[in-house]
């Protein structure tokens, strides 16, 4: 009972934080892009434009909800949920801190420290593609359909590299539990100086993972499913009001989960070099949560930064990159890691 209550509270907090963060990542994207482009960005709505997300959300809720006659209604209605829910679910196994003493209880700062955490993430992220494809197909619009088709091909292709890139990490960690992965990174060093983050002893995996994650979240240079200049709005072209907002939120929720995963898997999660990982005093626990938040925020910034800097790939180029470069690279990484482990046995 206690466990259920604890989990429920954690879920509520995490969901609340993510949804709020989504709103402010949207604002951050508008602000950061503005600074990159010598503009000011939103600054009229509330101080520094801070109320902009609120206004946008409220507007979307109050907007007429058009369901075109020519759509497949049931699927059309399910699709926005089918994309937003998996994007949020991924966060369930991400440890956003170590442990925290709350009213005399030691609370693990993770919703569910599942034994198959990594597998769960791969499974949930595969579900995301359904929302895109179904949305594109049910809209009965050629642009949306093409967006959906592009998305399915792209996301399925990159899932492979995504999964394979993690094998090297798992071989070293010898566990699918994300808390184990983080704990391992928090102990020891690489080459005596660097922290034992997997970015340092699995650099190839890190690279492949990051590129694949960009493709999975449909962000530039991989934003083909909605490529504004080609497919107008892609798979969500026919969606209006809150349903469109859900697609919009899903993209950013995806980004947050992805950033959190990069931080957790390759950049030590809540670990800060120089801080004793076993010390679980209240102040240090809070500090660890903050460290994790900062790392996640940094990768969110990278997502935004890349989007406003590079051009877009073409469909076949995306496929070529995925199958001809990333996949062999991921396999090579598995091979190298295996060799290393065998020789050091």
């Amino acid at each position: 009972m206690d466990y259920a209550l604890e989990s429920l509270i954690k879920i509520a907090i995490v969901l609340g934080v993510i949804i709020t963060t989504v709103a402010y990542v949207v604002l951050a994207e508008r602000k950061v892009s503005a600074y990159i482009q010598n503009r000011l960005g939103p600054n009229r709505v509330g101080p520094w434009g801070l109320l902009q997300p609120l206004a946008d959300g409220l507007k979307f809720i109050l907007k007429e909800d058009v369901i075109p006659n020519h759509v497949n209604k049931a699927i059309y209605l399910i699709a926005p949920a089918a994309i937003l829910v998996p994007a949020l679910m991924g966060f369930a196994v991400v440890p956003f801190g170590d442990t925290l003493m709350v009213v005399g209880r030691e609370v693990q700062l993770i919703i569910s420290d599942a034994d198959i955490g990594v597998l769960y993430i791969l499974a949930v992220s595969s579900l995301g593609v359904y929302g895109v494809v179904l949305g594109g197909w049910a809209s009965n619009n050629k642009y949306a359909l093409m967006g959906g088709v592009r998305a399915s091909a792209q996301m399925i292709s990159y899932e492979l590299s995504l999964g394979l890139s993690l094998i090297g990490v798992l071989m070293i960690a010898e566990s699918l539990k994300l808390s184990d992965v983080v704990n391992l990174q928090a102990t020891g060093t690489v080459l005596g100086v660097l922290p034992a983050w997997f970015v340092f002893n699995q650099p190839i995996a890190c690279l492949v993972f990051m590129v694949s994650v960009f493709a999975e979240t449909n962000r530039l240079p991989f934003d083909l499913p909605e490529a504004e200049q080609e497919l107008v709005a892609g798979y969500h072209a026919e969606y209006s009001s809150m349903k469109f907002a859900m697609f919009f939120m899903a993209e950013y929720a995806h980004m947050i989960t992805a950033s959190a995963l990069i931080a957790t898997l390759f950049f030590g999660g809540w670990h800060l070099p120089g801080v004793d990982p076993t010390d679980s005093s209240f102040a240090l626990s809070v500090l660890k949560v903050l460290v994790f938040a900062v790392k996640t925020a940094f990768f969110l910034f990278v997502f935004i930064w890349v989007r406003w800097t590079v051009p877009r790939f073409r469909y076949d180029q995306v496929m070529r990159l995925g199958w001809k470069y990333l996949l062999p690279l991921a396999l090579l990484n598995v091979l190298l890691t295996g060799l290393y482990l065998t020789l050091n046995r």
């Binding site: 990159i36 050629k142 592009r150 073409r314």
Partner: protein, 596 residues
């Protein structure tokens, strides 16, 4: 029967054959087609051959294939309705189809006018000789109702398919016959489906289904009003049919209803990326028609503004091209530079975009005193901005992958399709009107003409980027050489006197009246003139026919976008949708200029 009688009439004027034909091409034509060539005139440095329509194909073939002549580019096809022209008899042919030819090897121009009667309103199509005639002939059909025998696709091009009149005929009123007030927006046929009635079975052994995708006219990549109908096999384009005319404004008809100076205002709005080029190109044609010698200071100022316009134009091209390929930030960087150009235009002309700065015979007024410093300030900071964009794109792997070997067009095809400007130079043809047929003060200035090698989107990108640097060189030199003096011709019969003089001087007041009165002031003699210019997009020129009044009798605009865009289907066939967007960006179609 009607055909025969027309022939009989046409041969009549041939009796008064000109004594001496100086132009070798015209002489060769007279020798080879003595019966068809009716009249040869050489005025204002332009050669015009009037001929019968029956063997127009043979004439153009000879002109193209004869090595001595090799008129390999048909720069324009248009028509003139002579119904109310002075001296026009009811029994002489009503229309003339006008062919404007250019020879790349000999750097020569020749104008052919073929006579067409109203009863037998057809003429052989020359698309089999010059493919670039395709759209121009369609436009003549659309506007005048002249049918082209043997044309592969003779449909209306600018007006809606169900439009019933021929707007450029003299008997059609400029304000229309009520079509613009009673549009039935619910009429689906009005949109015009190029596939209507064409349900052909596609021969496809794999049995895969093809999809027809309608792109535009309101699509983010079309920057306005282009429409493409794409037949797709997956993402690959099997067939592409462009549909234009969504911004048809009636510029050419308006030219017949505005006095020469009034029309300057209208030209602003044609290529809205570089309005000053339109102003200047138009004024030059009328000035040639009137034999006006524009003062040197005005020429220099025009040159500086021309190159600034090129920079401003290329800035929008670069921004939107990058935007189409997904690099949004470049768009905002280039617009910043454009804003700086706007500052200069506003300083000089008083307006950011619709400048209306030129007058026939010079400029509206002189540039302000700080013009030199302001322009120098601009050119000083400009290279850094170009470099910044180059760092983002030129060696960016994605950019190269997206543009290299995309939308390739060979030099031969480019000429045959009647391309000009950076499109032609990207294919390796070193043709820049500023060098070949110099206008303004370009002969006095030192600059290079960049050419590409492969004719792909990347080369066109490089060519335009290099042009930006050359423009900067030209501006610097022209500023150094900028002479003092007046900026308008001294002829009081043509140019409005200064306001101060009008208030106090009797003579000036009289001139002021006369210039503005109908039938006085700007009234060129009977005749025609065409001055080709190198606008940022390519060959821009106004073909003006005068009937001796203060209004042009016919105003034809040879716009680069219209001609460059027609080869688009050939450039994108077999490519993917994303490539089609990239190529569209590199063609830089300006809808206002395309549809006029």
């Amino acid at each position: 029967m009607a055909e025969e009688s027309a022939e009989a009439i046409e041969t009549e004027p041939a009796e008064e054959a000109p004594e001496e034909i100086g132009d070798p091409a015209a002489r060769a034509l007279k020798d080879r087609f003595p019966d068809e060539v009716l009249e040869v005139s050489e005025t204002r440095g332009e050669t015009t051959v009037v001929c019968a329509k029956s063997r127009i194909r043979d004439i153009l073939t000879l002109l193209k294939d004869e090595p001595r002549l090799s008129f390999d580019r048909l720069s324009d096809v248009s028509a003139v309705d002579y119904t109310s022209y002075p001296g026009h008899e009811p029994d002489t042919p009503r229309f003339n189809v006008v062919y404007n030819l250019y020879s790349h090897p000999n750097n020569q121009r020749l104008r052919l006018r073929a006579q067409v009667t109203e009863d037998a309103c057809t003429i052989p199509s020359v698309t089999s000789i010059h493919r670039g005639a395709e759209w121009a002939e369609r436009e003549v059909f659309d506007m005048f109702g002249i049918r082209f025998d043997g044309h592969p696709d003779l449909r209306r091009i600018l007006m809606p398919l169900n439009f019933e009149h021929y707007p450029l005929r003299k008997d059609y009123p400029v304000r229309g016959m009520g079509e613009r007030d009673v549009i039935a927006p619910e009429d689906p046929g009005f949109l015009g489906n190029p596939y209507a009635g064409e349900e052909e079975e596609v021969d496809d052994p794999l049995g895969s289904e093809r999809m027809v995708l309608n792109l535009g006219p309101q699509h983010p990549a079309t920057h306005g009003t282009l429409r493409l109908t794409l037949e797709l096999d997956g993402e690959r384009i099997v067939r592409c049919i462009p549909d234009i005319g969504y911004l048809h404004t009636g510029f050419e008809k308006l030219g017949e209803h505005h006095t020469y100076n009034q029309y300057v205002t209208v030209t602003d709005r044609m290529n809205y990326l570089s309005p000053l080029c339109n102003n200047i190109a138009y004024s030059m044609s009328v000035e040639r028609l009137m034999d006006l010698e524009v003062p040197e200071r005005a020429l220099y100022i025009r040159t500086i503004l021309w190159e600034l316009s090129r920079i401003a134009d290329h800035m929008v091209w670069l921004g939107t091209h990058a935007l189409d390929i997904g690099a949004f930030t470049v768009f905002l960087y280039t617009f910043e530079q454009r804003e700086r150009c706007y500052n200069i235009f506003e300083l000089v002309t008083g307006a950011r975009l619709t400048t209306s700065y030129t007058r026939i015979g010079g400029l509206g007024w002189d540039v302000p005193d700080n013009f030199r410093e302001v322009v120098l300030d601009f050119v000083a900071q400009f290279p850094a901005a170009v470099e910044e964009v180059e760092r983002l794109l030129t060696r960016n792997r994605i950019w190269i992958d997206r543009t290299k070997d995309i939308g390739v067009i060979s030099a031969e095809d480019a000429i045959n399709w009647n391309m000009s400007g950076p499109m032609l130079r990207g294919s390796g043809v070193e043709y820049d009107i500023r060098k070949q047929e110099p206008f303004l003060v370009y002969p006095d200035l030192d600059f290079d003409v960049p050419v590409g090698k492969h004719g792909d989107t990347y080369d066109r990108y490089l060519v335009r980027m290099e042009e930006l640097r050359q423009s900067q060189r030209i501006i610097e030199q022209a500023l150094d050489k900028l002479p003092d003096g007046p900026v308008k011709v001294g002829d009081a019969k043509v140019i409005l006197p200064e306001k101060g003089e009008v208030d106090f001087g009797m003579e000036s007041l009289i001139h002021h009246f006369k210039v503005l009165m109908d039938g006085h002031g700007l009234t060129p003699e009977l005749g025609e003139a065409y001055v080709p210019t190198e606008s940022p997009n390519g060959e821009l020129g106004f073909y003006v026919v005068s009937d001796g009044t203060g209004y042009a009798y016919r105003m034809r605009v040879r716009s680069p976008s219209f001609m460059n865009y027609q080869a688009y289907p050939q450039m994108v066939n077999g490519h993917m949708i994303s490539d089609a967007i990239a190529v569209l960006g590199s063609v830089n179609v300006i809808a206002g200029e395309l549809d006029r």
